[in-house]
Amino acid sequence: MGWGGRPPFILEGRLMDRLPRWADVALVPFVSLTLAAIISALVIVAIGQDPWEAITVMVKGSVMNAYGWGYTLYYATSFIFTGLAVTVAFHAGLFNIGGEGQAQLGGLGVALTLLFIPWPHWTIALVAASLGAALFGAAWAAIPAYLQAKRGSHIVITTIMFNYIAASLMIFMLVDVLRPPGKMDPATANFPPATHLPSFNEIPGLNAIFTSGVPANVTFFIALAMAVVVWLLLWRTRLGYQIRAFGKSEPAARYAGINPTKIIMIAMLISGGLAGLMAINNVMGEAERLLGNSASGAGFIGIAVALMGRNHPIGVVLAALLFGFLFQGGAELGLWTKIPIELRTVVQGLVILFTGALDMMVRMLLVRIFALFRTSRLEAA
């Protein structure tokens, strides 16, 4: 054959132009995070505070004791759900910014399930409330999905809009519909005690570690299970294969006979359902009633978590832990230092910027460093 003796140099070149796999998976995020941390430290210095004190307070308050972990894991649970939600949509080539609204609607699903049906035991209530949460979250994602699939409306815009609509809808529901008579609070009544989910300090075995009351609850394990399910779905099933294929190339999907409408709808329904499931953690597991703004921004954080986690369930879990730490640590900052709690919003912004948008910059930097390293090694040899 004509090309038989030819080395596959194109292939080789492309591979060598890239980074080693370990650098791609671990080093790039690490460098991105370091850059974000350095700039955050500069911001702290700029407002006249001590970055070392800040990091000490953050670490102490979030991961140095069981109590802190109880909060860190609680936040991480919410972020795993929303991060997975963004991940699934992302693999279908859809940027779901509507996790916030879908999570709020999920809360409504939980509230309706738990308030109006008497459940004998929390396990059954958990299953029912999960269904309610996922259903409502999915329903909220369904409309933007339909508009994208059938009308070509940009999903980014519609999901953003649906966050606003969700916020208004929730205010209406809480103020005018679900608020118990005689109460001024825009919130539902408390859920029945039978639906109380065990917190870490109430789970036999775990309560040896978590001695004081913490918000982290059994939902954490559901979140981990969902990460596994999402992984199986995306890389082991035909549906996942189709979602990923569609996400990589819509024209190619059309060629292969993958129905775009179907994939957009299914991917967004799953995504919305996952975002909605977050309500199990905060509404059912923690507040035990539905309040306004229940998602508290976790839907947006999910975007950062997914980006940082490279849209892989394992990465999402790790990134969710990191953001859980940022949240708990940030709250501690607000409590114990003069640094305003908004610092964590800045840190989030920087993390998203560096891990999500400036990826290429870090990569280019590393490629150059690696090239230098290689050259010097060659010269030495």
Binding site: N163, M184, S296, F300, I301, G334, Q348
Partner: protein, 566 residues
């Protein structure tokens, strides 16, 4: 709808449309050049912060406006470098910038002004005034067109006119200039521009500047321009302000930049993300709204925790006196030489959403006395919790205070105490049927209320008033739960029962303070006559002019009172 209402509607439409118009133009430039700028919100926010801060320091609205443009240009540059030079995802970069802006603006404002992450209100030349177009008054009598010209077209800030001029300018730039041609070409087919011998990167950078930067910057100026003006603009805007306030309370992330344009001071402290503002009050008995950071402990230990973290910021010296401010007295809080800690940073503190309030705890010296000033209170009618102020008062006590001065705004039932007066409370009638101590378990709950309003404090306050030459009548205050106002019949009844003033606060705080062993005195500023007490129409006008007088009087009395104790 009559013609006058229509005019008013058009007038406010025009004004409110301006920031949107500028933002849309910013979007137009970036769309035309092929960038979907989701980060406009953040750029507007940064512009608003820069404009507000610089206008405050420089005292010039124009300098502020330039700073606003500069601020959003920097953000636009980051966006450009990220998405063009480093080929990052524009959407993600935009989302990141929104996060960054919403955090950085608060940090900066807090570091600069210490007012809970807000820029100070602007006055005088730091604000853009209204521009009266030529002949506006002369043409007013002309039917139909006259009022339209005078009311709707004339009388806006210069920025409104500039915004509309920019629309025309934008058309010209896009279709009649080299820059416009290249901009549109980049949006349609970047390769075409590249091969035509133009640097796409350079052009894109240039395009992002006027595109996202410029127009968003204008928005910032607009904010400086409107300043606190909107507050006094008339009723047309109020429903909107109200709605903004509500969303605001829900921690709604996005429309803040825009809202900042309409509100007096830029309230930056609400965020898209979890905040300790969402942290529940730790009220015993009821399992209370834990959103993401639940507090489930004993309230007293909460108070101790809070004291520790307050002292971490304010220093360890004890405070001598506490002061809870009613509306209109914010200035006094900012006069405190010390730190301002946002309620949002204090778990369990009221989540006060009513705009115009100052939800900060100020600790420091005022007229030489170390005080703790609560910039805002939570009313019973806000969440149905009469114990809302328990934790703040526990904290006050734990900070070492012995006395507490409460202030409020009230309606007068005495014709000789008109709006603009101040009234010292000699006693009160709890007309709500509620008591903040219900549910307390110990016998301490049976608090005696004789001389609840401390005679010695009252004497000192009266002496201060006398030395300031201010008339300070004493009277009985009736607590009415609200939020609806009283009916004329109810007022007649309260009068018969011996009431002199009526309001929706203070009494639960007096009870709680007595419970905690604090000495209390309270002063009302009279802002209006109670229902049925006067001709409503006259009263409305009167209130508007007289209410600030009362606040000024109260401030002088309090300062003199503090000086006398120093």
């Amino acid at each position: 709808m009559d013609y006058a209402t229509l005019l008013q509607l058009l007038d406010s439409t025009l004004r409110l449309a301006t920031p949107l118009l500028l933002a849309c133009l910013a979007g137009l430039y970036s769309e035309r050049s092929g960038v979907f700028d989701i980060g406009l919100e953040g750029k507007m926010l940064v512009a608003a912060m820069c404009a507000g801060a610089v206008a405050f320091y420089s005292g010039s609205a124009w300098v502020g406006a330039l700073a606003g443009i500069g601020g959003s240009l920097i953000f636009a540059l980051i966006h450009g470098v990220t998405s063009i030079t480093f080929r990052g995802n524009q959407l993600i970069a935009g989302v990141a910038l929104n996060f960054l802006a919403s955090g950085l603006t608060v940090l900066t404002a807090q570091a600069l002004f210490g007012q809970g992450g807000r820029t100070p209100p602007l006055t005088g030349a730091a604000r853009f005034g209204e521009l009266t177009l030529p002949f506006a008054e002369a043409l007013r009598p002309v039917p139909v067109i006259g009022p339209l010209y005078a009311e709707v077209i004339s009388g806006h800030s210069v920025l409104v006119y500039m915004a509309f001029a920019i629309v025309a300018l934008t058309w010209f730039v896009l279709y009649r200039t080299r820059y416009g041609l290249r901009l549109r070409a980049v949006g349609e087919n970047p390769a075409a521009v590249d091969t035509a011998g133009v640097s796409v990167v350079g052009l894109s950078a240039v395009r992002l500047l006027p595109g996202a930067g410029d127009a968003a910057g204008h928005c910032g100026r607009d904010r400086a321009g409107e300043g606190a003006g909107v507050l006094h603009r008339g009723p047309a805007l109020h429903p909107d302000r109200h709605r903004a306030g509500r969303l605001h309370r829900q921690g709604d992330p996005a429309p803040r930049g825009r809202r900042a344009l309409c509100e007096g001071t830029l309230t930056l402290r609400r965020k898209s993300s979890f905040s300790s503002a969402d942290i529940p009050r730790g009220v015993r008995g009821v399992r209370n709204p834990p959103l993401l950071r639940p507090a489930r402990g004993d309230p007293m230990s909460d108070a101790e925790t809070l004291v520790r973290l307050i002292r971490a910021r304010s220093g360890d010296a004890p405070v001598a006196l506490g002061l809870i401010l009613g509306s209109g007295l914010g200035h006094l809080a900012h006069a405190v030489d010390g730190v301002a800690i946002p309620y949002a940073d204090l778990p369990g503190f009221p989540h006060v959403g009513v705009s115009g309030h100052n939800p900060n705890l100020h600790i420091g010296r005022l007229e030489g006395v170390r005080v703790a000033v609560f910039g805002a209170r939570e009313h019973y009618y806000e969440s149905g919790n009469p114990r809302a102020m328990l934790l703040p008062l526990q904290v006050l006590k734990a900070l070492g205070a012995e006395s507490l001065i409460l202030t409020n705004a009230a309606g007068s039932m005495r014709p000789d105490v008109p709006p603009g007066s101040v009234m010292l409370l000699s006693d009160h009638i709890n007309f709500s049927g509620l008591n903040p101590l219900i549910g307390e378990k110990t016998d301490a709950r049976f608090v005696p209320m004789t001389d609840a309003h401390d005679p010695a404090l009252r004497e000192a306050l009266k002496a201060a008033a006398t030395s300031e030459g201010i008339d300070l009548p004493e009277g009985v205050y009736c607590w009415y739960s609200g939020p609806s106002f009283e009916t004329p019949a109810e007022i007649r009844m309260l009068k018969l029962l011996g009431g002199d003033a009526v309001g929706m606060s203070t009494v639960p705080e007096v009870i709680l303070a007595r419970f905690l062993g604090l000495r209390v005195a309270a002063i009302s500023t009279i802002t209006n006559m109670a229902a049925g007490m006067s001709d409503e129409r006259i009263s409305h006008e009167h209130t508007k002019t007289m209410a600030p007088l009362g606040a000024a009087k109260l401030e002088r009395i309090l300062r003199e009172f503090l000086r006398s104790r120093h």
